[in-house]
Subunit: 331 residues, 2 copies
C-alpha cells in the first residue's frame, strides 16, 4: 500500500465508505506570500519549510462528486468530459484512489474552475482542496479542517493551504507521516488588500515545480539557508499582518519571491522562469514604487507576476497594468 | 596611517622612493569565470573567496607615470586632462597616496584605455594593475608579480588578477594583512578561446559592486554557502581548463555567474542588475545551445552579458549577436 494511502487510512480509521448522492464543494485558489519550495517527503508532499498564503476568495474550484454508475471514473472539467488519459483526469483519479472503497467503485467528478485558467493562478491547489472536501461530503465523514488540509496536501502540496479563506499558514511539521503538516487560517482580516494577476506568458513551464524543487534540494548549496530565510520571513510577515503594515507585507513577499527565484537560478542546471517581460514588469513596479505608489509583487514557479496593493490604489495600478486581473481576497 | 599604507610599507621596506623619468606600463582587463563577490576586509580589498579569470590580452590600460613639476597630481585619461575632483582622478590620487614619497610630491599620470569604455568590460582592474606596475617602474623597485598583485588589489580587488595574461587565479588568503592574497597565472593555454562582449546598457549601475558586496555579506543568508559553491566551481573550472573541455568551462562559468546574481537577488534590499534585454540575451544563448552551438555566457555586476565560445564558432555567434565585440585572450 502506498505511503499516502496508509496516511489516509489512519485519518479515516473507523469511518464508513458509503456514498450518498452528490456532494458539492468549493475551495479558493491561493497565492503564497512566503513560498513553499522543496519537499522533505516526495510521496506525502511534506515540505521542508512552512509557508503563508492568501486565499483568493471567489477564484477557485467547484467540484461535484458522486458514485459513477459503473467502474472507472468519469471526469468533466468546465463542462467538458475528459478522456481518462488526460493529465487532469489521471491526477484526479490517482487522488481518488486514496479514498476508493473498492476497485469497481467509479467516481463521477465534475470540476469547474473560476480561476481564469490563463490568469497565471494555479488551479491545482483549489482543485485538490475542493476534491478532498467533496469526498468528505460524499461519504459523510465530517472531518475537521486540519484533516482535510492533510488529505488535500496528498494531491498537491499547496492544496493544504486552500481549505480556508484569508491568510493561511501551513506548518511544515516534523512527523514522518505528516499528520502535523497542515494549514490553518490566521486570525486576521485585511479587507483593503488586493492581489492582481499580470499574465505575461501562458505557455507551459519548461520545468515543473515538483521537478524543480527536487533539483534545488539536491544540487543547490543555497538551499541549506532557505529554511532560515523562510523562518525569518514568516515571522516578519506575521508581524506585518498583525500590524496591518502594508509596506512591510509587500517587502517580505517580494523579497521572499526573489529569494526563491534565486534558489532556482543557483540550482544545477539553473532554472530561470523569468522572461524579458517579467523583468520589465518588475522594473515598472519598482519605478512606480519610487514614485510613491505602494505596489509590490510576488512570483511563483513561472514567468508571471502577481501584484500586491491596497484598494485605494487600484485605479493607479490599472493605469500601469491595464490587463491586470484584480482579486479582493476578503470580499 | 591607513591599513593599506601599512601593507605597502611592509612590501616596500628598505626600497628607495627616487623617481626616474617616465615609467610606462600596460595591464589587461580581465573577466572572472568564477566570480569575486564579498570582502573579508573592506580596507584592504581582501576577498572571502578565491576567483579565477581570463585576461583580455590587448584590451586593457596603458599608463605613463612621472613626477609632476609641482605638488598635486595631474591626470589625463585618453588624452584629456581631468579635473582633480573627477571620479577617476580622485581614485587614482588616493591610490598614488599609498606610494607618495612626500606630501609635496605630485604625480603626472597619463592613462589610456584600450578597453572600449562602452563595451561593458571594467577598466578599473586593468587601470590599477597598470598603475602599480608603473609605480614599480618609476621608482625602480623591481617587485615580483605577486607583490604587484597585492599592490594593485589595494586599488581595486579585481585588479589583483590583471597582472598576468591567460587564466589567472586569485587566492583568497587568510592573513589579516593580505600578504597571501594575490593572483597568479595558471600554466595553461587555450588559443581557440573567445570572449565576446554584448553591450545591452551602458548606464551607470544603480548599485556599485563595493556597496552590493557589502550588502550581500551582511544581509543574504545564502552568502554563507557562497564559499562552498566557489570552491566547487574553482575545482571544476581548473579541471575543465586542464582537459580543455569547453562545455565544462562554459557550464561552470554560466552557473557561477547565475549563482552570484542569485546572491544579489536574495540580498536585502534585493539587487537585480538584469534588464529585460539581459534575459532576452540569456534565452537567445540557451536556444542557440539547444540547437547545438557551444555558446555560454557570464555576467558581472551589471546588465551586460559576456559570451564564451571557441574560434570555430565565431561566425555563427556574430550572426546571432551582430554587435558583439570579440576578444582572443591568447592572441
Amino acid at each position: 500500500m502506498s505511503a499516502a494511502r496508509q496516511v489516509v487510512q489512519r485519518i479515516l480509521a473507523g469511518r464508513e465508505f458509503q456514498a450518498n448522492g452528490t456532494a458539492k464543494a468549493y475551495a479558493p485558489a491561493n497565492i503564497a506570500l512566503v513560498k513553499y519550495w522543496g519537499k522533505r517527503d516526495e510521496a506525502l508532499n511534506l515540505p521542508v519549510t512552512g509557508s503563508l498564503s492568501i486565499s483568493l476568495g471567489p477564484l477557485g474550484s467547484h467540484v461535484e462528486l458522486a458514485r459513477a454508475e459503473s467502474a472507472g471514473d468519469r471526469v468533466w472539467l468546465n463542462g467538458q468530459p475528459l478522456p481518462a488519459d488526460s493529465s487532469f483526469a489521471r491526477r484526479a483519479s490517482a487522488f481518488l484512489d486514496l479514498f476508493r472503497p473498492a476497485k469497481d467503485f467509479g467516481f463521477a467528478l465534475k470540476a469547474r474552475n473560476t480561476v481564469p485558467t490563463a490568469a497565471g493562478f494555479a488551479s491545482s491547489a483549489s482543485g485538490f482542496a475542493a476534491l478532498a472536501k467533496a469526498a468528505d461530503g460524499l461519504f459523510g465523514w465530517g472531518l475537521a479542517a486540519r484533516e482535510l488540509s492533510i488529505l488535500a496536501r496528498l494531491g498537491s502540496g499547496s492544496a493544504a493551504r486552500s481549505l480556508a479563506d484569508g491568510f493561511v499558514e501551513w506548518q511544515a511539521g516534523t512527523a514522518a507521516d505528516g499528520l502535523d503538516s497542515f494549514a490553518e487560517r490566521l486570525d486576521a482580516e485585511w479587507p483593503e488588500l488586493r492581489v492582481g494577476a499580470v499574465v505575461l506568458c501562458s505557455d507551459e513551464k519548461p520545468v515543473g515545480s515538483r521537478e524543480g524543487m527536487k533539483r534545488s534540494v539536491e544540487t543547490c548549496e543555497f538551499y541549506r539557508e532557505w529554511p532560515g530565510r523562510v523562518a525569518r520571513d514568516l515571522a516578519a510577515l506575521k508581524t506585518a499582518i498583525a500590524k496591518k503594515n502594508f509596506a512591510a507585507l509587500g517587502e517580505v513577499a517580494e523579497g521572499n519571491a526573489l529569494a526563491m527565484h534565486a534558489l532556482m537560478a543557483a540550482t544545477l542546471p539553473p532554472i530561470v522562469y523569468a522572461l524579458p517581460e517579467t523583468v520589465a514588469a518588475m522594473r515598472t513596479i519598482w519605478t512606480a514604487r519610487e514614485a510613491g505608489l505602494a505596489l509590490w509583487f510576488t512570483m511563483d514557479a513561472g514567468p508571471n507576476v502577481k501584484l500586491l496593493f491596497e484598494a485605494k490604489d487600484e485605479s493607479r495600478v490599472r493605469e500601469i497594468f491595464p490587463a491586470v486581473e484584480v482579486v479582493a481576497p476578503f470580499g
